[in-house]
């Protein structure tokens, strides 16, 4: 039975915990428990029963349109359309629009980091030749450092 619960938990892990999703999870769990107990009564071993129940579970992505998982997701996380029924077993892949939105946000942040780096670095170079107030050099140094670190992280995220 633990395998069934773990399977269900893993299946629902990526979905928001809205009332409709939780209802679906509870009812599917009840269905799986009934199926498991039925198999155990028929003399099937616990391991085989759990395996059979999991194989008969189906595809969670199929539930999305009927349950309004897409709508709930939009409301709670600002996500956009999840894909509809999918014949493959298991979860639907993350909607591509979500990835596109995240990517655009990362690119915007990277551009901002480049701009800050562009503003903060020239005074540091000039400070080598011309005397400048210490506080100004420290400010530019910190700004340039933060921008550079942020840029490295953002580029690494964008390359994934």
């Amino acid at each position: 039975m633990n395998a069934i619960t773990a399977h269900l938990e893993a299946m629902f892990d990526t979905y928001p915990r809205t009332p409709r999703v939780l209802d679906a999870k509870a009812e599917l769990q009840a269905m799986m428990e009934d199926a498991y107990e039925n198999l155990i009564t028929a003399g099937v071993t616990p391991a085989d029963a759990a395996g059979q129940v999991i194989s008969e579970f189906g595809n969670l992505a199929e539930l999305a349109p009927a349950l309004g998982i897409t709508t709930d997701t939009d409301r709670s996380r600002g996500r956009v359309e999840a894909s509809a029924a999918d014949d493959r077993e298991g979860l639907a892949p993350p909607p591509t629009k979500i990835r596109n939105v995240s990517r655009v946000a990362l690119i915007v942040l990277a551009v901002l980091a480049v701009i800050w780096l562009g503003i903060a670095t020239p005074p540091l170079i000039l400070a080598i030749f011309t005397p400048m107030p210490g506080w100004f050099i420290i400010f530019c140094g910190v700004a340039a450092g933060i921008s550079a670190v942020a840029l490295i992280f953002l580029i690494r995220l964008l390359r994934r």
């Binding site: 679906a24 009812e27 599917l28 009840a30 269905m31 799986m32 009934d34 199926a35 107990e37 039925n38 008969e56 579970f57 189906g58 595809n59 969670l60 199929e62 539930l63 349109p65 009927a66 349950l67 014949d87």
Partner: protein, 110 residues
């Protein structure tokens, strides 16, 4: 074994037909379907659940809490009057569809 794609359009008809014989809960519907189809078709639990929820949101079935034979609380589904009329229409449509497809299939086999 019939593929899920082949029967996809008829899942609602199957569920409504079963519910027209009396209210039932999700797992019992799966069992009833398995008893009728045998080795020819096995409906996945998510397919059944999405069908009853789709029918419920369309007002063709309603749900209510009740206790199963094993004494556990379960959500029962019951066909509505709209659901019964819809089922009648779908049965007529299915017979016509079957008749039209048969004309081609039997023609090919001749």
């Amino acid at each position: 074994m019939i593929s899920p794609d082949a029967i996809r359009g008829y899942v609602d008809l199957i569920v409504l037909s079963l519910l027209s014989e009396g209210s039932s809960y999700a797992y019992r519907l799966v069992q009833q379907i398995a008893t009728v189809t045998g080795q020819d078709y096995a409906m996945k639990q998510t397919t059944l659940y999405s069908a009853v929820k789709r029918l419920e949101s369309a007002g063709l079935v309603t749900s209510f809490p009740d206790t199963s034979e094993s004494g556990k609380p379960r959500t029962y589904y019951k066909i509505t009057e709209t659901g019964s009329s819809h089922l009648d229409q779908k049965i007529v449509e299915w017979r016509e569809t079957k008749s039209v497809v048969d004309r081609f299939v039997e023609g090919i086999n001749r």
